[in-house]
């Protein structure tokens, strides 16, 4: 016997770094969308018309090259495919990590990392559930929170006059903030951007900044509405 153990043998599916790369790229797509979406939401401060204009503009963007709503569909498909890839990679890596350590430690002081790791995975699942709810709420208008309105701005304002709706969104946005706090750092690591200790500092700062901007940017409209700052 030449060596004591033999390796476990070929693993099915892409290698872990490739999966991570998929997560990072799709994650960046999400970030792009999230930032744009946040900007759009902030239009509400410029008045209901501006907001509706923006919502409408989304549908006509790219026309006449694209049919009405064409850009929106391209975006939707991209997002959907990204989400499937992102979630599939996440679950595959999750399973691999579980298989790589079957016996747990009796005592483990890596508490913070274990929390972050769980938060990414369960937080991701929570985000997924939220998106479903959110689509039913705003996009399909299936869930009607405070009456049935056809104007997007009306839907928005009326919804956030209800405290529990605000609460759901606050929780979701905080979850998103957490996901991004580690996610941005992680994506930069995965894409090979962290090549020195100085770079690492920059990436840390950027992650915090992105997370903070997203949390504040998304929470500003609902709270403003709740406190009656927006008519």
């Amino acid at each position: 016997m030449a060596t004591q153990t033999v390796s476990a043998g070929p693993r099915s599916g892409p290698n872990s770094i490739l999966l991570k790369t998929v997560m990072a790229v799709t994650g960046l797509i999400f970030i792009g969308f999230i930032l744009a979406h946040m900007y759009g939401n902030l239009m509400i401060f410029a008045g209901k018309d501006a907001f509706d204009e923006y919502a409408h503009h989304l549908r006509t963007f790219g026309s006449p090259m694209l049919p009405e709503g064409g850009f929106l569909w391209v975006m939707r498909i991209t997002l959907l495919v990204s989400l499937v890839l992102h979630a599939w990679s996440a679950f595959t890596l999750w399973a691999r990590a579980g298989a790589a350590r079957k016996t747990r430690y009796q005592v483990n002081k890596a508490a913070k990392s274990i929390f972050v790791s769980r938060a990414m995975r369960w937080g991701g699942v929570a985000l997924l559930l939220f998106v479903v709810f959110h689509l039913l709420h705003f996009t399909t208008n299936t869930i009607q929170v405070n009456g049935d309105f056809s104007r997007p701005s009306d839907r928005l304002v009326s919804s956030f006059e209800v405290w529990w709706a605000v609460l759901i969104y606050v929780i979701a946005v905080l979850a998103l903030g957490m996901h991004l706090l580690h996610g941005v750092w992680s994506a930069a690591m995965t894409l090979g951007l962290n090549t020195s200790l100085d770079r690492a500092e920059v990436i840390r700062v950027v992650s915090v900044a992105v997370a903070a901007v997203v949390v504040i940017g998304f929470l500003a409209p609902p709270f403003s509405i709740l406190f009656g700052l927006i008519p």
Partner: protein, 656 residues
């Protein structure tokens, strides 16, 4: 030559000589030998099996090179990975006569320094070759990606080391051994991946198989399953390192042992100059009875630190900062005004011991004795500033603080000598072949290049020279006559070798006495240190031989080895090693006793000048003492190899 017992301890046999070094000028000798050595047709190499025991610098480099050449190599080490051989611990650097600094260095100067440093007890031919191939080592290592220190221009940096006047030491911070070994290890792993080398980690060689007078294989124990395996081959290479652990406490790793060499010795390989050990002056002192090993601190500390002890014994317990200047004895500066704190290792070590023996040692009492002298940086700190000292020695100071819990920027360090390196080892000729045909020995395991004392940064050079450049060229001369007759596993000599290993293991497990293996090892170490350490005397050595004999007797009657043979059993592993140390220790004392001169690391109390310095006797002792095993109840046989100095003139060393 005589049959009668000399000193009541040994007999003398025929002299030996190295027959392989070509009779040409020393400068062309190695070229000539490489040319004379027969070649093996590439197609035949695959049919030739070579066993290599050890994956240190010597073993890993030999394994990689022979694998590249296409031989069938089987490589063994007792650690869980070949990367962990104790070569990894070397800090200081590796010498090579590159003359990159243009300071007048050359192969010839390195040769000269090494012979002189070895106190004129090494073979000129081997040392010259070592110096000659040293330059290739650096090229090879750089090509492999060994990250040596570099200057801003991108070229390699050198420093001067061990008191020589040229800068020829290449280094990688304080981790030169590690970086060189990782280079060799990666080359070895490459061959493992390519299938030319088969690796057997956690395998310990326990016996050499000799058939028809030739080394034909080994018996090894799989340390995980406990299985006893026989491995057969056309040639066997031992690169199993040094035996400093016979002293129990040393700077060697816990597992370093003499078993591979000793088993070969018992099968007929001569053991040369066993008493030559190097004691390194700057180690962290022993702190208590439970200490398991000693840690070396780089010698470079002596460049800026001043060594002292209190003048009065009563001050030994005081806080050193409260001892005024006039009550301190800077003894090295006092005794050796021109070299001061930079005297060679053996002198610095011996004087530290003398101070402690006088009762002026410092630090905690271990037993009823203080073992330590101060190495004080207060002057350097006030002269250069703390930051400059930190930049130079920061990592060493941190290591010191981690181990002792004391801050050397504020309190002087304490240091004490410790066993570090063994110049002795299996006797080999110019081809690195032992007295058993087909058994080659490389690295610290052989005796070849360092005489009675090794210069700093020369062991790494020797290990890699042997493994990369020498052995692969010389062993082919032997292999060219192969493949040797195939052996069956049930050949009587093979079966007997295997049976002897099994029997011994069974014996060790069945004694079930009162004392642990470690307690025997510690006691042996104590005897060796007291009587065969820095200073040896006839009386002490005789006493030691008696003590070792009775300890060995007790061992085989009273050792307690728990557990079973067929699992990982660390007590059993240790027991086998200690059993061999108990035999080696006696031979070391006999060798030390018979050599009535002081040379290099061997200081005989009876052979000193009027002012207490070492005195060599070239007329009587300019030879290698190659010992032949005399049997379990017999006496060892001394074979002398006369050392002839054609190129270098013998001189007494003086450092006053």
């Amino acid at each position: 030559m005589t049959e009668t017992l000399i000193e009541g301890l040994y007999t003398e046999g025929e002299p030996v000589a190295d027959a392989k070094a070509p009779k040409t000028d020393i400068v062309t000798m190695w070229q000539q030998r490489k040319f004379d050595a027969k070649l093996v047709n590439p197609a035949n190499r695959r049919k030739l099996d070579v066993i290599i025991v050890g994956t240190g610098l010597a073993g890993a480099s030999a394994g990689a090179t022979l694998g590249e050449a296409g031989y069938n190599v089987k490589s063994f080490c007792y650690q869980d990975s070949p990367r962990r051989a104790h070569s990894i611990a070397a800090q200081g650097g590796i010498n090579a006569a590159k003359n990159y600094k243009g300071d007048g260095d050359s192969a010839y100067r390195l040769f000269y320094d090494t012979v002189k440093g070895g106190d004129y007890r090494s073979r000129e031919t081997n040392v010259y070759r070592l110096a000659e191939v040293s330059v290739d080592i650096i090229d090879q290592c750089v090509a492999q990606g060994v990250p040596f220190a570099r200057e801003y221009g991108g070229l390699l940096d050198n420093r001067s080391f061990g008191g020589v006047q040229v800068s020829r030491t290449f280094y990688a911070r304080g981790q030169t051994g590690q970086q060189l070994l990782i280079g060799a290890y990666q080359a070895l792993e490459r061959q493992i991946g390519a299938g030319t080398v088969q690796m057997f980690p956690r395998h310990e060689m326990l016996e050499l198989i000799v058939v028809d007078g030739k080394a034909r294989g080994i018996v090894a124990r799989d340390m995980v399953s406990g299985e006893i395996e026989t491995h057969l081959a056309d040639a066997v290479v031992l690169a199993s390192g040094g035996y400093g652990n016979v002293f129990f406490l040393s700077t060697n790793a816990m597992g370093c042992n003499v078993t591979a060499s000793w088993r070969a010795h018992r099968k007929g390989a001569y053991f040369a100059n066993p008493c030559y050990t190097q004691i390194h002056p700057t180690c962290i002192p022993v702190s208590g009875d439970h200490q398991s090993k000693l840690t070396l601190m780089s010698e470079s500390l002596r460049n800026d630190g001043r060594i002292w002890v209190p003048k009065n014994r009563d001050d030994c317990e005081k806080d050193p900062r409260e001892i005024p200047e006039e009550d301190r004895d800077y003894y090295l500066e006092r005794i050796y005004p021109s070299f001061g704190n930079l005297v060679p290792r053996d002198i610095a070590s011996r004087q530290a011991k003398n101070m402690c023996d006088e009762g002026r040692g410092v630090g905690p009492k271990v037993g009823d004795f203080r073992r330590g002298v101060y190495l004080d940086f207060a002057d350097a700190i006030s002269r250069l500033g703390e930051d400059a000292v930190r930049a130079k020695y920061g990592n060493l100071f941190d290591m010191y603080e981690r181990i002792t819990g004391e801050n050397p920027y504020q309190v002087p360090m304490r240091i004490y000598p410790a066993v570090h390196y063994t110049m002795g080892g299996l006797w080999v000729d110019y081809d690195l072949e032992s007295s058993i045909p087909g058994l080659f020995v490389a690295g610290e395991a052989n005796f070849s290049d360092h005489g009675a004392n090794r210069l700093g940064a020369s062991a790494l050079m020797q290990g890699l020279a042997d493994g990369y450049f020498v052995l692969p060229n010389t062993i082919r001369d032997y292999l060219a006559n192969g493949p040797y007759e195939p052996l069956a596993e049930d050949h009587p000599d093979v079966v007997a070798a295997r049976a002897s290993v099994e029997e011994r293991i069974e014996k060790l497990l069945s004694i079930n006495g009162e004392r642990s293996v470690d307690s025997f090892h510690k006691e042996l170490g104590h005897i060796m240190w007291e009587y065969c350490g820095m200073e040896r005397s006839e009386e002490g050595l005789r006493k030691a031989i008696d003590l070792i004999r009775s300890l060995r007797e007790e061992f085989w009657r009273n050792v307690r080895v728990l557990g079973a043979a067929d699992t990982l059993n660390q007590s059993l592993e240790k027991a086998g090693r200690v059993a061999d140390f108990l035999e080696l220790g006696e031979l070391m004392c006999i060798d030390a006793l018979h050599r009535r001169e002081s040379c290099g690391g061997h200081f005989r109390a009876e052979s000193q000048t009027e002012d207490g310095e070492a005195l060599r006797h070239d007329d009587e002792f300019a030879y290698v003492a190659a010992w032949e095993w005399g049997g379990d109840s017999g006496n060892p046989v001394l074979h002398k190899e006369n050392l002839e100095y054609e190129f270098i003139e013998l001189k007494q060393r003086s450092y006053k």
